[in-house]
Each structure stands twice: as C-alpha cells, then as structure tokens.
C-alpha cells in the first residue's frame, strides 16, 4: 500500500526525484512474488556481477561522494565470496559499489549490470552497511531472495544486525553507475537512515516535499532521500 502511495506521489510531480522514488520503491526487501515477466528471473553467473578491473571498481565506488570525502574513505570491492577491503580509510566513510540485490528495483533484483556507488558515513557504515554485506554474502552462497529476506529480518529482530545509529547517512552523487533497466541513472542525492520512523515525521512523500522516504516494516528501517544539485565532481546535476 505504501509503495503504491509513494509511487503515485513520486510520479505526479517530483521532477528531480521521480526516478529516484521509482528506484527506492523497488528497494524494499519484502518478499514479493516474482513476476513472470521479469527480465531477470534468477541469478546470473557470479562473474557477471564482478568487475574484473579492481581499480575501476575503486574509482567507481569513490565517485559516490566528492573527492574531499572519498579520498580518505575505506573502499570495498566485490569478490566471489563477498566484499573485501581494497583501500583502507581514515575518515570513517566506506565507499562501495553495491549490486542489484541491495540497490535496485525489484524488477532488476538479479540484473547483473547494476552498479550503484555509495559512500556511507561512519554511522551508516556501522549500522546499515552490515545488512547489505550480509545480504551479499548470502546471495553469493546461493540463497534465494526469500531466504535472504528471512535471514536478514531474523538477524535484525535478534539484534545480530544493529539498529540505525543517529546520523547514519550516505552519499550517492556519482555521475556513473547503473541503477537498473527502469532507472538507469539515479539523480544525485543523499540518504539518511533511521530505525522505523514515520515518513510523515519528515514531511516525506507529500506533494511538493523535496524528501522521499521508504519504510520497511520487516527490517524496521526507514530511508529518506534528498536530491542534491551537483554531482560528486561539482558539476551541475540535471
């Protein structure tokens, strides 16, 4: 229901964030029946999700935030068994290129082309990133989407995965990357993470609001997104 409401709002008038809203709507981890028309009904061979050129993956990950931030950030790259640290950081930020199963609309859940650069601040790296790392590890060991969702939710409930810390946020300001077939290029934006918060508290998803939000009741997670006016390199975003 929430998804439908948000979709209606997003597609009505948020020029800048419409695409982002669309993408966010598909990011929920609620188990959904796979549509028979989905172009990516199952996982592709793992190689298709990997980037052969580690330097290219590092550069793409770092492009998520201005260089003033990402140059001192830790960078993790995807390997066959999960993410590994490729660059040690010193400012608490962690930059990473997330793949479809954590960062794309449902239709693109198994889309091997998805590359989503994100730089988490320290609080985000401690609180949200572990979920995405765990999800990735489970996916790479062959678990189904439903199994992964169930495991993540259980881990959150048992507090094996942490709640969101105050001030947890991330930068998603890369000009590059690929968000999926439905939203190939996400608008430049920042996101803020809270443990289950009513989107209305921030005035999100209301007509004219510059804030979009998605709540995942199962993971007790609310994500707020705000479009920003420049890419990470300082050039004007469209």
């Amino acid at each position: 229901m929430l998804k439908k409401k948000v979709a209606a709002i997003a597609f009505k008038g948020f020029a800048l964030l419409a695409a982002l809203g669309s993408a966010l709507l598909g990011m929920g981890n609620q188990a959904m029946a796979q549509d028979a028309t989905m172009p990516y009904p199952k996982m592709a061979p793992i190689d298709q999700y990997l980037m052969a050129d580690q330097d290219a993956e590092i550069a793409l990950a770092q492009s998520a935030a201005p260089e003033s931030i990402s140059r001192d950030a830790e960078v993790q790259v995807l390997r066959r068994l999960g993410f590994e640290t490729a660059v040690k950081g010193k400012n608490g930020f962690v930059c990473i290129v997330e793949r479809s199963w954590t960062s794309a609309p449902d239709a693109d859940f198994w889309n091997p082309k998805v590359r989503t650069p994100i730089c988490y601040n320290a609080a985000g790296a401690r609180s949200l990133l572990p979920r995405n790392i765990k999800r990735t590890n489970l996916i790479l060991t062959g678990r189904t989407k439903a199994e992964v969702d169930e495991t993540i939710v259980a881990a959150v409930d048992k507090k094996e995965l942490p709640a969101m810390e105050p001030g947890a946020m991330c930068y998603m300001m890369s000009k590059q990357g690929y968000g999926g077939d439905s939203v190939a290029h996400w608008p430049s934006h920042v996101m803020f993470f809270y443990s289950q918060t009513d989107p209305a508290t921030w005035g999100a998803n209301l007509p004219g609001s510059p804030i979009l939000a998605m709540s995942d009741d199962h993971e007790h997670l609310t994500e707020f997104a705000i479009g920003v006016q420049h890419w990470s390199d300082g050039t004007e975003a469209g």
Binding site: G203, P207, G227, G234
Partner: protein, 253 residues
C-alpha cells in the same frame, strides 16, 4: 543555488542556523567594527501584520505540510500561537536574533526567516527560540540571555534535542540576510554530533553544510563553550515550497 550562495545563507542571519564560517576567522573586534546592526532596533521594526506573518510562516513548507501546521507569530513580548495545527508541525518567522549570538546580523530588523519545524524539532528546538525571544524582547542583554538559557538547560527546563529533527525553509518570500540574493530554499537538520565531519559537511563539493548553533566564534561569548553541542546541517533544494524552481544551479565550489 550554488554552493557559494548556500554558504552566504548559512553565513547569514537566518533563523536558527545563521552561521559565519568565513567570518569566524575574524577577530570579534574586527567583526564588531563592521557590524551595521550593533544594537536592537525599535521593537516595531521586528513586528509584522499578523495575517501576513501567518502566510509567510506557512510559505516555508509545501501546502501539504503547512496547511495543517500550527503557526506562531511574534508579538511585543514573544511568540504566541496564532493557528492551532493538527499535524505536529509548527511554522513561524524567525528574526535575526535566532542567529548565533555573535552574528553581525543578529539585530537586523529586515530578517524574516520563514521556517516550518517537524514535530521533534517543534518539541525540542522551538523552546530555545521562545526563551531567547522573550528575554531579548524584555530588554535583557545577550550576556543575560545566555546565562538564563544555560541555567534553564542545567535545570532541565529546556529539553535535550530529539533525534530526527528537520526544518523546511523553502519560502520564496523570506529575507534571510543582507548578503547575496537574501534567500534560497533549503532543509535543516539539528544534530548533537560533536564533530561536524560526521556528515562530511563543509568539505569541497559536499552538498551538506554545517555550523555551530550557538556561535561563530566563542571569543565574544566564551560561556557558550559550556553549552550542549548543537550543530545545524543544511542541504539546499532546487524548488521553492510552491513547486517553482529556484534559480539556476551553477558549479559548486
């Protein structure tokens, strides 16, 4: 709005944030010498027509938010509720003195900073604004106001900051500062982080700016150093509350 313009706003006298990062490197005496607003103007200069003030306050956020918000207006003795809302938000028009205590436009009577606070901010940021305003309008000095606020904090008469505070400042009609275009749409977030780098604010090309809520430099009012850490983070947005686009962006610097 480019970074420079946002910075100008952040460095200006608009409600609650009002920072002066650039000027913070200046000695207090140098700032004082340049201050065009060294004392309070006659109180009438800070007051507005009530209906106009309600409309201006509401213009801080999209109608979907402000139509159901409470609205407070300034009187000779402080803010009072003009409209009872039903969504927990409070819209108001801040004056120059909601800026940092050492801000050069603290007493600028032209400042009209329309602002809509979400429920956590209304509960935990607004009480500070009430207190400050009432004391200043009663004729107390800045030193006295600072001491009174500190005492109220210590006695827990003023609340600690709740998480999740947000403020909309998207009015086309605000006057935030004498500088630049005087205005620009943005959102603000209040945090108790001791370290502004938590969000990587103020770094080159970062879309996030932040300042200390209380002062530019504690040199003029060193007692502010003992206040609870309170940072204000700002993110510029590209539309006014009525949905029209803000002036064209240019390259961030």
């Amino acid at each position: 709005m480019n970074r420079s313009q946002i910075h100008t706003l952040l460095l200006s006298a608009f409600a609650i944030v009002v920072a002066l990062i650039a000027a913070s490197s200046l000695p207090a005496s140098a700032q004082d010498a340049k201050q065009p607003y060294s004392t309070m103007a006659p109180v009438e200069q800070y007051l507005m027509d009530r209906d106009a003030e309600i409309a201006l306050a509401r213009s801080a956020a999209p109608d979907a938010i402000s139509n159901d918000a409470s609205v407070i207006v300034l009187t000779r003795h402080g803010y009072e509720t003009a409209v009872e809302g039903k969504n927990g938000w409070v819209c108001w028009v801040g004056r120059g003195w909601m800026g940092m205590f050492d801000h050069p436009e603290f007493w600028n009577p032209k400042v009209r900073a329309a602002d809509c606070l979400n429920p956590p901010a209304a509960r935990t940021v607004l009480p500070y604004a009430y207190k400050r305003t009432e004391l200043l309008l009663a004729g107390h000095s800045k030193q006295e106001v600072i001491a009174a606020i500190k005492a109220a904090i210590d006695k827990k008469e003023l609340p600690p900051l709740e998480p999740g505070t947000v403020s909309y400042m998207m009015s086309k009609s605000s006057y935030l500062t004498d500088n630049g275009d005087h205005n620009g749409p943005h959102l603000m977030f209040f945090q108790t982080d001791k370290n502004d780098t938590a969000w990587a604010a103020n770094l080159t090309n970062s879309p996030v700016l932040s300042v200390n809520y209380w002062y530019i430099s504690a040199e003029a009012y060193p007692q502010l150093k003992a206040f609870p850490q309170l940072s204000v983070f700002l993110v510029g947005v590209d539309k006014w509350s009525d949905g029209t686009p803000a002036h064209a962006c240019s390259s961030a610097k």
